[in-house]
Amino acid sequence: MIQVENLTRKFDQFTAVNDISFEVDSGEIFAFLGPNGAGKTTTIKMLTTLLRPTSGRIHLDGLDPWVKQRDARQRFGIVFQDPSLDNEQTALENMELHGILYHIPRRVRVERIEELLRLFELWERRNDYVKTFSGGMKRRLEIARGFLHTPKILFLDEPTLGLDPQSRNQLWTHVKNLNAKEKTTVFLTTHYMDEADRVAHRIAIMDHGAIVAIGTSAELKARTNTDSLEAAFLALTGTSLRDESASSTDNLRRFAQMWQQKR
């Protein structure tokens, strides 16, 4: 379903993603783990046509997303790390907007919106403004929205960052159910080792722009002779801290946090 060959992305002198290759099968839940600055978000951005690769080849469901942009975009959904809902509209309106952008015919749209909002336990709040939602609810809505156009692949970039354990657990239950029922391939990035361990069929560990190891959780533990994914991860990527400088995105995020404290 996803084939990546020799994917590279350079920013001037800095190589964010260095010649990575991997494959994800249809219906698989595939996790990208890695320290900050490893290149996970850059990789997802290249796969989802947000950032142009410097070199390499990508195939999503047999299509090159950079050549057949519209067709490819119709087949995948993405839930970003930062919220991308319209706070000034209701949950229902947000779903409607997405449905129209993704060319879902009206009757199908109405049914599917109800089905997903009920599944993610948001139906009762469908006419409330999103700005009144908690963080967990917003994230659930975004994921519900991601599934709306029955994508073949769903990309999740740190989907449970900042959520409490109940919300996280519930979210993954729904994602796994939809993965089983609709055979959606799920590609996620996360820091939470326990989640990757529990949820993903296979895991790739990325560091300094390169893939360090790929396999099932059991394989990775066996390879590093450890009994937890976290220990395996640390064994493969080392324990030294990563020094980074704040990007403009980090600055914006800080600004956003400042504003959100006011609520």
């Binding site: 907007l97 129209i100 952008l101």
Partner: protein, 265 residues
């Protein structure tokens, strides 16, 4: 096509749902109108130039439209990172439709703001007038208002597109502040909104003629208070003003479409 409509509708809905913001954004132009209008009024009249409120009203209407439309474009920076706009960047819809719908929506909202400001001016004593010849009696010319709407809409479109171009290029909030201070305020102050553009020195003449808003304000003023009210009803003329604004709107719309299509989040 549906995408253009929903992006437009989104901006308009947001406007109608934020009553507090509507009132607040009318505050500054109203302050200018009342404080400067009644403050400078006596001196302006003494200089033989007539009623300053009459002169200023088109200026503050233009000011309202300018600020509203530029701001809607600049708010794109936020929307790009934390808002709905990001979702539209990965949707299977041409980016041209997205930016077009959004810009039209921003321009529509700015136009409505301009109309509201016109109402405020009317309450403050402004009257659109028509005079046949210098020294003849001035009569109220309510038909000027629909024609003025054309200029309000054109100003809105030009600056919504400019704001969208800027919003597609800047990367963080510092850029936003810089642009407000070094682009928007000069555009406003040097547009003849607050003072006549006649008899200025060479440098000022050149700068004010290079300011797009000058043509919008001149058009508004000419339509609303006519040729003979003062010496300076029309600085330029109807066709020049309208034509120039239309050309600029087209250019800025093209620029914003191109810049938006190249956004990499």
């Amino acid at each position: 096509m549906g995408a253009i409509y929903i992006m437009w509708l989104r901006e308009v809905k947001r406007y109608f749902r934020s009553k507090a913001q509507v009132i607040v954004s009318l505050g500054q132009p109203t302050l200018y109108l009342l404080a400067l209008g009644f403050g400078f009024g006596p001196i302006f009249a003494k200089a033989g130039a007539g009623n300053y409120i009459q002169f200023m009203a088109p200026g503050v209407i233009g000011m309202t439209v300018l600020f509203s439309s530029i701001f809607s474009g600049m708010a794109m920076l936020w929307d790009r990172q934390f808002g709905f706009l990001k979702e539209t960047l990965v949707a299977p819809v041409p980016r041209l439709n997205i930016i077009f719908g959004r810009t039209l929506g921003g321009a529509t909202v700015a136009t409505m703001q301009g109309l509201l400001m016109l109402v405020v001016c009317l309450i403050a004593g402004f009257r659109p007038v028509h005079q046949h010849a210098p020294g003849a009696a001035a009569s109220n010319n309510w038909l000027a208002i629909p024609v003025a709407l054309i200029f309000i809409a054109m100003i809105a479109l030009v600056f919504a597109a400019l704001g969208a171009s800027v919003g597609s290029s800047i990367k963080d909030m510092q850029g936003f502040q810089v642009l407000m201070n070094f682009m928007v305020m000069p555009i406003f102050f040097l547009s003849g909104a607050l003072f006549p553009l006649k008899n200025l020195g060479a440098v000022m003449t050149w700068i004010t003629h290079a300011d797009p808003l000058s043509y919008g304000i001149d058009g508004l003023r000419g339509v609303l208070i006519g040729n003979w009210q003062f010496n300076f009803g029309w600085q330029f003329n109807f066709m020049l003003d309208l034509g120039l604004l239309a050309a600029l709107a087209a250019i800025f719309l093209g620029t914003s479409a191109w810049l938006f299509s190249r956004i990499e989040v």
